[in-house]
């Protein structure tokens, strides 16, 4: 990319023209300089030629003088008469010198000569010249004559051992020099070697000396000498042959004139050029720049929204500008029309935004200021739009809130710029905004971020809505929800407490029941009574567990216990569980299961509970026909369960509250019994396990309940549950003594445990049992007695079971030599997380109250290494009678008894039912056994079905008889 320095056309043109002028000036200057140099050189050469002519003239004269002196020296002394001497006119003085350079004879002397016989020429320059005669110089340097101080040149010649000296008075040259200088206009001077001007062609110049070191350099017009109010270029011609240097003063007038003429020409040319440029630029300015500036001004007006108005193009000279002018006018009209449309559109949208209760606004991210805010902001916040737009967006916020808001805005803007968020994405926030009166208002702010193509900045456009009413409703709702949740939690807590309170006595009841059941001396009636107690207790426990499960679900504390299990076995057990009841009721129970994985991962207990509930309901509410359980794969890792029957069905009105807890259908209430929790629990369990329990029913035709659960197949083998073991009878004798500490604050809870353990304790005893009433007592007893097993109640006064367990475990860790006690938590808690807490505090196992003897013995066998003796397998009572046979045998009983039974069944009074069944005695053992089983199971439906069948049979019998 090329970088361009922005400038105006005017400046650029000016720059180009100045550059052109500068270049032209430089070229002209160089041309003038070369011309002047050439002219100066020619001129100086001409002057140098003049000097050469003078030199030639003087040299010829001096040569003649030298020849005449030689001729004089050859003359005999006697011939040197005045007449002869007058012939040697070139010399003003002629001497004969002795070896001391003294004058021996004066042959010729100038008038007024100051030289006399005996005068010595031994000093100064002349002495030096005379000393060297015959060696190098044939004439002396020009000097003042010793005779009369006139400029002179001496010639010396040695002839026959005699030294003759002649002086040439150069005064006569003065006239020549003067005339030549006047003629040529260039003064000539004879200059001694030391720079003294000996003869000057123009004495009026008064130049005594010339600085030879300076002027002997190549002359040029830049080095001038001022004399006689004129400037001269001295030119020194170094000529030794005449004993002087010829200096010529070249006047500079001609050169100055030439130079000035050229400079004037150059100046005039450049001036003309500049004038031309100025005129051209003025024209350019008027004809082009000014119209362009006018265009720019009109465009500026247009930009400011001012219609430039109509104008003419008479002053525009060029077609291009006229074209631009016309197009601009058209463009301005088009813009005006569009602006009008925009204005109307804006008015429309303004009306819209200003009539809205919601606040419409736009915000510039760069400045954090509002670009627009609709007037409805006044109603919302109390500020006028002008006040809002005058302040930054965070003006009314606390510093922390302001920073948070700005950071949020910038993050979203950055997300837009980086492409992480689409431009049409809408953000919806609930913001509590300050009002002018100091209060706050909750608002819903819907924003979208966009990039302003004109400014390149990110802008936020949003709508702010008053949420006050909604917030108030939500707050009420939340309060109600909180109240409901609090009530629910209170209910759950109540139920949990009730569970604990109920389970505690149940523990005693069922515990002692289990103790007594192991008494081999019981009579039949006693055992029946005991069985009734046990059955009632278990039924009550089941009821409590259902209620607890529901409360746990409502409290959100129900958890899944997922683990691999054998699906096939679960289905088989379900089928086996309901096989007999279905058969008793004359129903066909079919199970269809194919293509299922053997082992799946899931909560087996809850699935079992759901299936038992659904199949049990189907059997219970189906008088005739069939009940089908279908299990099949459904999609990947999912299995669909469906239970269908040909029962009474459910009316559409009842379908809506089918899964509501404590709600029963008409048919449910008709058959009496039940709590109305079964379907509700199943529905919740299925939901917990990731499915939805649905029901389809047609009254009179039957119902179908189905659900699909994610039960992924696992390859690991399911843990084998030890089922089908026989009841524990006693401990094997001869085992090492096992010390068991029972810790419970309630003696009624300690007693059944102790009784149970002592019941199975052989002689000699294997178990030593002690009791502690609280945790502190247990810890103290542990210190001294070191029990192998501690059955620890968790909820105790003084010191809880958890604290006691922690201390015991801490003591065990600190003292490795002590016995490793097995701590079994005994709890009446209904919640699984409590179990986790107990295990976390150090308990090794956890047993729920009321305890089951066999489970407890299994635990002791598994963890404490105790060996138990189990009872031999006792086959369950076989009810081989069919429904019709039972009906027949029932019909044989007294009518009064049957009526009483029917009334008891109608009332669901299981106690009365059990009493009536016991009245049967041993007369019909099979009928009694079947009825006792139903009564034990509180299977009122079975009694209803039998009685209905009995009534039908009686009717048929009556009809036929």
């Amino acid at each position: 990319m090329t970088w361009l320095r922005r400038t105006t056309f005017w400046h650029y043109t000016l720059f180009l023209e100045i550059a052109s002028l500068t270049l032209t000036t430089a070229i002209l200057f160089v041309a003038v300089w070369f011309t002047l140099s050439g002219m100066n050189g020619k001129y100086l050469d001409l002057r140098r030629a003049d000097a050469a002519r003078v030199h030639l003239f003087l040299a010829s004269h001096l040569d003649a003088a030298r020849a005449s002196l030689a001729a004089f020296a050859d003359l005999p002394e006697a011939e040197c008469t005045p007449a002869v001497l007058s012939l040697f006119s070139a010399f003003s003085d002629i001497y004969r010198l002795d070896p001391e350079l003294r004058v021996q004879r004066i042959y010729k002397a100038a008038p007024g000569s100051k030289v006399f016989v005996g005068y010595a020429f031994s000093g100064g320059k002349l002495g030096g010249y005379l000393t060297s005669v015959g060696q190098r110089n044939d004439l002396s340097e020009i000097m003042r004559g010793h005779e009369n101080d006139a400029p002179s040149v001496y010639f010396a010649i040695r002839s026959a051992g005699i030294l003759y000296l002649g002086r040439l008075d150069l005064s006569y040259v003065q006239n020549f020099l003067t005339q030549f200088s006047r003629f040529s206009g260039t003064p000539l001077m004879l200059v001694a070697k030391d720079g003294f001007v000996m003869l000057s062609g123009d004495p009026t110049l008064h130049i005594p000396t010339l600085d030879l070191k300076y002027w002997e350099e190549t002359p040029n017009s830049g080095s001038t000498l001022s004399a006689g109010n004129r400037r001269w270029i001295p030119m020194i011609v170094a000529v030794d042959t005449i004993g002087a240097k010829i200096a010529i003063l070249i006047p500079t007038e001609l050169l100055d004139t030439q130079r000035n003429a050229l400079l004037i020409f150059m100046g005039a040319f450049l001036g003309g050029l500049i004038l031309l440029v100025v005129v051209k630029n003025r024209r350019l300015n008027r004809l082009v720049m000014q119209p362009m500036a006018a265009f720019a001004e009109k465009m500026g007006d247009l930009e400011q929204g001012r219609w430039p108005g109509q104008d003419d193009d008479q002053n525009v000279r060029f077609a291009e500008l006229i074209s631009i002018h016309n197009r601009f006018r058209s463009m301005a009209q088009a813009i005006a029309q569009r602006e009008q449309s925009l204005r109307e559109s804006e008015q429309k949208y303004r009306l819209l935004t200003e009539s809205m209760k919601d606040v419409v606004w736009a915000l510039d991210i760069a400045t954090m200021r509002f670009l627009y805010c609709s007037p409805s902001v006044t109603g919302l916040r109390g500020f006028t739009p002008e006040e809002v737009m005058a302040e930054p967006v965070d003006a009314a916020l606390t510093p922390a809130a302001a920073d948070s808001l700005k950071a949020l805005l910038r993050d979203r803007a950055a997300a837009l710029l980086s492409g992480q968020q689409a431009a049409d994405h809408f953000y919806i926030d609930e913001v509590e905004q300050p009002r002018k009166d100091g209060t706050t208002v909750w608002t819903e702010v819907i924003t979208t971020y966009c990039r302003n193509e004109r400014t390149g900045q990110v802008e936020v456009r949003g709508v702010t809505r008053d949420l006050t009413e909604r917030k108030q409703a939500e707050e009420k709702l939340a309060a109600a929800k909180e109240a409901a949740e609090a009530a629910n939690r209170a209910k759950s807590m109540f139920l949990a407490n009730m569970s604990h309170e109920i389970r505690t006595p149940m523990n005693a009841i069922l515990g002692f029941t289990q103790v007594l059941a192991r008494d081999p001396d019981l009579k039949g009636a006693q055992r029946n009574s005991l069985t009734t107690i046990a059955r009632s207790g278990e039924h009550l426990l089941t009821l409590i567990n259902d209620i607890l499960d529901m409360s746990k679900i409502e409290a959100g504390r129900m958890t899944l216990a997922e683990s691999p299990f054998d699906l096939h076995r679960l289905i088989a057990e379900t089928e086996a569980f309901f096989g007999k009841p279905a058969c008793d009721r004359g129903l066909a129970l079919s199970v269809e299961a194919s293509g299922l994985p053997r082992t799946v991962a899931g909560d087996e207990m809850k699935l079992r509970q759901v299936l038992i509930n659904l199949v049990g309901n189907a059997v219970k509410f189906t008088l005739a026909g069939r009940v089908a359980l279908r299990v099949e794969p459904f999609a990947a890792a999912a299995i669909r369960f469906s239970v269908s029957d040909t029962g009474v069905g459910i009316s559409p009105a009842e379908m809506a509250r089918l899964f509501k807890p404590f709600s029963q259908t008409l048919s449910g209430r008709a058959v009496a019994g039940g709590t109305g929790l079964g379907l509700a629990l199943s529905h919740q369990f299925v939901r917990l396990m990731g499915g939805v329990l649905t029901a389809q029913s047609t009254p009179g035709e039957g119902s179908c309940f189905s659900f699909t659960l994610p039960l992924p197949s696992v390859t690991a083998g399911a843990p084998q549950t030890d089922r089908g073991v026989f009841p524990t009878v006693a401990l094997e004798p001869g085992q090492p003594v096992c010390r068991v500490l029972i810790v419970d604050d309630l003696p009624d809870n300690r007693a059944p445990l102790r009784a149970l353990l002592e019941r199975v304790n052989p002689q000699p005893p294997v178990l030593e049992v002690r009791e502690a009433a609280d945790g502190r007592e247990a810890v103290a007893l542990w210190e001294v007695w070191q029990p192998h097993v501690v059955l620890m109640d968790m909820r105790m006064p003084v010191m809880s079971g958890q604290d006691a367990t922690r201390r015991i475990k801490a003591q065990m860790a600190a003292r490795p030599a002590t016995v490793r006690s097995l701590v079994v938590a005994l709890t009446a808690s209904a919640f699984d997380e409590n179990r986790d807490d107990f295990l976390a505090c150090g308990c090794d196992e956890c047993v729920c109250k009321p305890f089951l003897a066999d489970a407890l013995f299994d635990l002791l066998a598994r963890r404490a290494g105790l060996r138990f003796v189990r009872a031999a397998a006792v086959p369950p009572p076989r009810l081989s009678l069919s429904a019709d046979e039972l009906a027949g045998r029932l019909a044989a009983r007294p009518e009064q008894w049957r009526t009483a039974l029917s009334d008891a069944v109608d009332l669901g009074d299981c106690g009365r039912i059990t009493a009536l069944v016991e009245q049967l005695g041993d007369g019909d053992a099979a009928l009694r056994a079947a009825l006792e089983q139903w009564a034990y199971n509180y299977d009122v439906e079975a009694f209803v079905s039998l009685l209905q069948r009995n009534v039908a049979g009686t009717s048929e019998h009556g009809l036929t008889s």
Binding site: F116, R144, L212
Partner: protein, 363 residues
């Protein structure tokens, strides 16, 4: 509005430039007229001008600009030449002309219109005047008394004194002072012969000089080539007799015409011999190296006068009154070629030296 601002800015820049220029410009040069005989082919005249040139070359920052003033050492031309220069604005002058010219032009320096430092005029007519005519040479009486005292120490009793009539304003008082001083001592008999040195005729003086003399004193106010001829003639007749010149006859040109008499010539001088004064010797060497010849001794005074003026100008004194006040305010000025001590009238007293080895001195 924009144009007004532009013009205001231009005017401000111009005013600032003027202020800066006035602040930083070099002080204006001051013309100094060197009054001399700018005759062709003469050491005098040329020496003064070249001495001034050398001074300016060695003092490039000096405010002095030399303006030659040629009076040809003729009294009738001195006043017009100086007046012409004053008409051109020259307010300061340095002169080397003889006393006759100085006496003729002294009225030009009666007031503060111009100031002149004279380096060669010793006429007592110039002494003791409170004017703007300063003189850095001792006047003739001092000079002649010193010469007389020197002669008195020489052996002999009869001395020929040749008085140059070409410069009587100097030679007359000089002779009077010399003869008075010498006669007061009683040893010497003075034979006084006036002559025009420039017109010296050997034949005329041969018989005069042939008389027995023990010494010759050529009392001439300035150097003239004929002094050497006179000395040679006397030496030719009295080879052992000393020949005394005035300080103003000091010129290397005497080596040309004095011949063997140079060994007998004794030159009185207001400056010590070059071999005793390294600064003066260095000056002559620089001069010779620059211009190729030996100047006469008056250029020492020219140099000193220019130094005094330059010193005054550099201190900001650039009017004749200021310069005179400055120069007379201090008891002594140490120039590079020797001290100068003005008396309140602008005259000086000098110690005189008698140089005998002229070949060494003038070579």
């Amino acid at each position: 509005m924009k144009k007004i601002a532009l013009w205001s800015a231009l005017l401000a820049i111009l005013a600032a430039s003027l202020l800066l220029w006035r602040q930083w410009r070099l002080p204006p040069p001051i013309p100094v007229g060197v009054v001399a005989w700018l005759a062709s082919a003469a050491v005098v005249g040329s020496s003064e001008m070249n001495a001034a040139d050398l001074f300016l070359e060695e003092h490039p920052l000096s405010r002095i600009r030399v303006r030659p003033v040629d009076d040809q050492w003729q009294a009738d031309k001195t006043v017009p030449a100086i007046a012409a220069a004053m008409g051109e604005g020259v307010r300061f002058f340095v002169s080397t002309h003889p006393s006759k010219c100085a006496v003729a032009s002294i009225q030009l320096f009666a007031d503060s219109r111009a100031l002149l430092i004279n380096t060669a005029s010793t006429s007592p007519a110039l002494t003791g005047k409170d004017d703007y005519f300063l003189r850095i040479v001792a006047d003739a009486p001092q000079e002649q008394r010193a010469i007389a005292r020197y002669v008195d120490q020489l052996p002999g009793t009869r001395i020929l004194v040749l008085q140059d009539e070409g410069n009587l304003p100097y030679t007359d008082p000089a002779f009077q002072a010399f003869s008075a001083e010498l006669q007061s001592r009683g040893q010497w008999q003075i034979v006084h012969r006036p002559l025009m040195v420039a017109n010296f005729n050997p034949d005329e003086f041969h018989s005069i000089m042939a008389e027995p003399y023990d010494a010759l004193y050529i009392l001439a106010g300035s150097f003239q080539a004929a002094i050497g001829n006179i000395a040679q003639l006397f030496h030719h007749l009295h080879p052992a007799a000393p020949i005394l010149l005035t300080p103003w006859a000091r010129s290397p040109a005497i080596l040309e015409t004095a011949g063997p008499a140079i060994d007998r010539i004794i030159l009185p001088s207001q400056y010590p011999a070059r071999r005793d004064a390294p600064a003066i010797d260095a000056y002559f060497r620089r001069f010779h190296a620059r211009f190729g010849y030996q100047p006469h001794a008056m250029t020492i005074g020219v140099w000193q006068a220019l130094e005094l003026l330059d010193q005054s100008f550099s201190r900001g004194y650039d009017t004749p009154a200021q310069v005179k006040h400055y120069l007379l305010s201090l008891p002594i000025y140490q120039t590079s070629l020797g001290p100068i001590a003005f008396d309140p009238n602008g005259d000086v007293s000098r110690t005189f030296y008698f140089i005998q080895d002229l070949k060494q001195e003038l070579q």
